[in-house]
Each structure stands twice: as C-alpha cells, then as structure tokens.
C-alpha cells in the first residue's frame, strides 16, 4: 500500500511543473514524432515537406556552389527567422558582388556593376513564412515523386528525393536532403529527360541559434549609387476596374495570388498574378506601357528563370518563373483584361482572389 500522504506533500509543486511542462510537451512530442519519422524512413513527400520547413523556419548560414553549364560560382546565404520576421542575405563571393538583402519587410538589391540599389517592400500577403506549400494529390498529377533512399554525400547521410516532371511545362528536381537537419545539401534542376540543367551544392552550413544583425550588412559601399525605391503609396491608388486573368493555363497550374505591386522607379502600380503547380511558380506582371519606351516582346532569361514579355491592350505583360521558356510564353500570351476599361490608363487590380 503506498503512502499517499507523503506523495501529497509535493502535489502542488508537481502540478505547477506539470502545467508548465505540458505547454511544451505537445510541441516536443511533435518534434519527436517528426524526428522519429525521419529515423524510421519517411516517405519522399514527407522529406520534401521537412525540407521546406527547414528552409523556411531555421536559421542558417551556408556557402554553396552554383553550377550552370561550364560556369561555377560560389555564394553565401544567410537566413534568420525571428517569429514572423525573416531576414535573408544572398551574396556572390567571387562574381558580381551583387547582394540581395531582406530585413523585415524591406528588400534591397545591391547591383555594384550598375551602381544601382533597388529597394522594394515585401508583399504583405507573401507566403515567405506563413504558408508552407504542401504536396497534395494534385501535385502528383504533374510530378512523380520518387526516392527517399539513403545516400552518402559529402560525409553526411542524406535522402535522395526526385521530383520528376510528367510534362514539358516544368522542371524536375533531385534533392539530397540531410537526414539530420532536413537541409538540402545538393539540388539539381533537371529537364524532363533527366539532364541536369544546373545545380546547387553546399560546402558548409551552420545552423546558429542566433545570427547578429551585422551579418545582414552589405559588403559594398553604395552611398554614391543610384537608389530606386518602391513608393509605398502606389498600391492602393488604382481606380480603374481592369481585371487581368489568364484565359488558359498549362496543366497543373492554378492562380494563387492577385495583388498590386509597387516597383522601384515606377509611379504606376503593377498588377502581379502568381500561378503555381505546387512546386514551381510563375509571376505575371502587368503595367501600363510607357509611350516613350519601346515595348519588350519575346523570351528572355534571368539566371535560372525564364521570362516572356508581350503587349496586351497597351499594357506590358511579363511572365517570369523557374519553369521552361515555353511555360512562361504560354501563360503570358493567355493573359487578358476582362474589363473594357483596361484600355484607359492605369491599372485596376481586383482584390486578391485565389482561384484554384
């Protein structure tokens, strides 16, 4: 027979502890389950979600090599999350000296080769932190997700997961995801035939508990550069009722965001539509064509991204995304105004209306 009287002596203290600890128990148990899932062999889809979570929610400082064709470049990435405040810095260590710095809602691009600095405001409804993409059944229709087996890479145990595109409208990915941290140590961008178009290979990653603000200061002295800032007041001043939509989309793509975007160096707001297939995304920007400039038409390439520009109803339409060139062309040429008043100057941008 136990002696309950003795045990009761610690009851109040125990209850306090229990209540305190119970708040973290759920979180800890969840973490544990996730860890156990990793150890026990999670599905490839789960590895992708774990990777997305790691990339989005963890602090990390990494150096990686970006290889495209015969060209290789070393870059450093610094990523910090404090609550909902995300800071990020990407800089070339041996190339252009260009830097991308995001601190809070301010995004700054330093372009030393152009002696120019671009300053933008992040989208208030951007999914940078809040909405992690989930790989649903719809994605399985356009990507075949394979792998999950262990592979040694750079002295680490990784899981190799492949996203194979089912058609020519998207690229494939091969990912070597670190088993312990879920960080992708190596990423290959592939075409439909499996040929590697480019790859990112980390040479080191730190996962610091804290990253000081000093690590987000640019190396370049841009005090005498030209600074182009997005004006904050532009986004809500549209009075027209023009509504831009894509009449048709490549298989698997859906529109997820419709917003108005202020751009550095422009007084007019730019309509911004976002389409995604769950992995890749394409943005379409629509802005009134300026009479004293030659409109852009045709394909272009921006690093890994493809772009296609055209003119619709006296507006410049540009689609850009990490997809093959034919995909951005398809989408850009399908963008139409659904209101006749779009021919008037200015953009009418409907409230955000996800259209799945």
């Amino acid at each position: 027979m136990p002696a309950p009287g003795v045990l009761m002596g610690a009851e109040a203290r125990g209850l306090r502890w229990y209540e305190r600890r119970s708040r973290v128990a759920t979180f800890a148990a969840l973490s544990l389950l996730l860890g156990a899932g990793a150890a026990m062999g999670a599905e490839p889809k789960e590895w992708l979600e774990r990777m997305n979570k790691a990339l989005t929610t963890r602090n990390y400082v990494g150096v990686f090599t970006h290889v495209r064709g015969t060209r290789a470049e070393t870059l450093r990435i610094i990523h910090r999350v404090r609550g909902r405040d995300v800071s990020e810095r990407l800089l070339s260590l041996d190339g252009s000296g260009r830097e991308f710095v995001r601190e809070g809602d301010e995004i700054t691009c330093y372009l030393p080769d152009k002696k120019t600095v671009l300053v933008e405001r992040s989208a208030p409804d951007g999914p940078l932190l809040g909405a992690l993409p989930a790989f649903d059944d719809g994605d399985s229709l356009v990507y075949e997700i394979r792998g999950g087996e262990r592979q040694r890479l750079l002295g680490r145990t990784t899981r190799l997961v492949a996203l194979h595109p089912r058609d020519e409208y998207r690229y494939g990915y091969r990912l070597w995801i670190d088993e312990q941290t879920s960080m992708p140590l190596k990423t290959q961008l592939c075409d439909k035939a499996g040929n590697v178009i480019e790859q990112i290979l980390f040479s080191s990653i730190d996962l610091p508990e804290r990253i000081p603000d000093s690590m987000f200061k640019p190396l370049v002295d841009a005090s005498d550069y030209r600074w182009l800032r997005a004006e904050r007041t532009l986004a809500n001043n549209n009075a027209s009722s023009a509504l831009w939509e894509a009449m048709r989309l490549p298989p698997g793509f859906r529109m997820t965001t419709r917003s108005s975007q202020a751009m550095p160096g422009s007084k007019e707001p730019v309509a911004h539509l976002v389409f995604t297939d769950g992995v890749a995304s394409v943005s379409v920007f629509v802005e009134p064509r300026k009479p004293d400039t030659q409109p852009a038409e045709g394909p272009a390439r921006v690093g890994s991204s493809s772009a296609f520009s055209t003119v619709v109803d006296d507006h410049q339409v540009t689609a850009i995304g990490e997809v093959p060139p034919n995909t951005v062309q398809f989408i850009a040429t399908q963008v139409k105004s659904t209101s006749k008043s779009s021919t008037t100057r200015g953009l009418g941008i409907a409230p955000q209306r996800p259209n799945k």
Binding site: L32, I107, P127, R156, I197, S281, A296, R301, G303
Partner: protein
C-alpha cells in the same frame, strides 16, 4: 479517504510526482515511493518513457548540450551496471563521481541512486528508450565540435554541418574557389544547358531584378533561391553587360531618370 479520490486526480498526482522527480525536486523518500509505484503501474512507466523522450526532444530543440542532471545520472548508472540490481560499491562511487560535476547536493545524489535501485528492474526498457533519445542528441552535439564557418559572427552555433571536401581552415572556406565538378554519387550527371532561342534576349538587370524580387516573395522554399540567383549570380551580371539591347526591355530605366531618383537620393 484519499484512496477514494477520482482516478483522474490520482493520475494527475502521480504525473506531478514524476515531473518533480525529473526536475530533481523530489526527496529521497518520495523517490523510493514513486519507484515502488512505478513497479506496479504500467501507465506510469509509460509516462516515464514519455517524459524521458520529451525532455530529450526539448533539449535538442533548444540546442543545449547534454547536461541534464537526471539524464546524466541515469546514463552513468546504467552504463556501469552489468545487470539489474543494486550497484556494487565501486561502481556506485564511479557513478557518483561522474555526476558530481553537475550535482551539488550529496543527499540528492543518494536519493537518485536509491530511486534507481528500485526503478531499474521495471523501467529498463523505458530507460533504454530515453538513453537512445539522449544518445541521438549527443551525436548531434558532437558535430558541433568541428570548426564552424563564421563562428565568430554567428555564435552561438547550435549545429554546424561541416562537409568533407571543405578545407580545414575557415579562411580558406571563405575564399577558396569551389570545385566546379561536385562530388558524384555514382549517378550519371548529364549537363544540358537549354539551347538559347535565336530570338531570346537577355533580361535587363535592373528592371527584371524588380520582377525577380517580387516573384521570389511568392516562390516556394525550393525555387526561391533559384529565382534570386537570377539577380545575384554571375549569370545576371555578364548577361546584362553583354546585351546591348537589354535596356530596351521591358521598359528602360532611362525613361524616367528623374522619377527614378525620387525618394532614393538620401540613400538608405
């Protein structure tokens, strides 16, 4: 009588006792009583296991090193115990020695040892699970011993993945040219840079940078970096420089030089 209290209340009390024990807040006598209960109560043993694992998980999330007093004592005692039962005198002394650096109360140590004597036969499996969790955490922290990149800037470092081909020197890490031919896993890697269309123009750096930055805000975690490489990478620089037609598409910055400078002259 207290034995007539509702079952949920009794369970809450036992959980509290177990919690207090994990926090080192339970006296020796209370530890012994709890151990006896543990021997009889399967659900309580399950709770023990959960607390062990949760504790390990919490510590791992916070990135602290293995310094939990209870865990160390349990590990020390278990490691030196060839079979269930009372600790031999010499091994008990060794266990005490191993725990002494983090324990200030001798009475508390003795209480734990007494508790372990009772608990060990019945919670062996649970302890093993706890030890496994703690060991995983220990292995994680062992990785931290390698020199960390930018440690002076980013301290304290919770984890550091140091990959084998990396030069030993931090300075070299920061300056060395990366190997353009990454290590292969035996998998054939066929490179195929898309053939540029005869009509493909190269994007103008500044204007398209705006688009890329805005677009990257809506890119997924996987493709976001790829998008940003379009404005930071060497590709972007040379492409722009090599393309005389670049400034014509989609709208040249020169169109509104005065406007462009508004608001920006003051710098950042």
């Amino acid at each position: 009588m207290s034995e007539e209290r509702p079952s949920s209340e009794r369970h809450g009390e036992r959980d509290s006792q177990l919690s207090a024990m994990f926090d080192g807040e339970l006296s020796g006598a209370e530890c012994e009583l709890l151990a006896r209960r543990l021997a009889r109560d399967e659900s309580l043993r399950g709770q023990w296991s959960r607390y062990s694992l949760i504790g390990a998980a919490v510590r791992a999330e916070r990135g602290v090193r293995l310094d939990d007093r209870v865990a160390r004592k349990v590990l020390s005692a278990i490691a030196q115990e060839p079979s269930y039962g009372d600790l031999p005198a010499g091994e008990a002394a060794a266990a005490r020695s191993a725990a002494a650096d983090s324990v200030t109360s001798t009475a508390r140590v003795n209480a734990y040892e007494r508790w372990l004597r009772f608990a060990r036969p019945v919670v062996g499996a649970s302890i093993a699970a706890g030890v496994a969790a703690v060991s995983i955490m220990w292995l994680r922290t062992q990785d931290d011993t390698a020199p960390a990149l930018l440690a002076s800037e980013a301290a304290p470092v919770t984890e550091s993945i140091v990959l084998e081909p990396e030069p030993a020197s931090t300075a070299l890490v920061l300056t060395a040219q990366a190997d353009p031919e990454p290590i292969s896993n035996g998998e054939p890697e066929r490179y195929s840079t898309p053939a540029p269309s005869s009509q493909t123009s190269i994007a103008p750096p500044a204007r398209f940078a705006n688009y890329v930055v805005a677009h990257s805000e809506y890119s997924g975690p996987l493709t976001r970096r790829m998008a940003l490489l379009g404005i930071v990478g060497a590709d972007a620089q040379s492409d722009g420089a090599d393309a005389p037609q670049a400034e014509t598409a989609p709208q040249a910055e020169r169109a509104r030089p005065a406007d462009a400078r508004t608001g920006g002259a003051d710098g950042r």
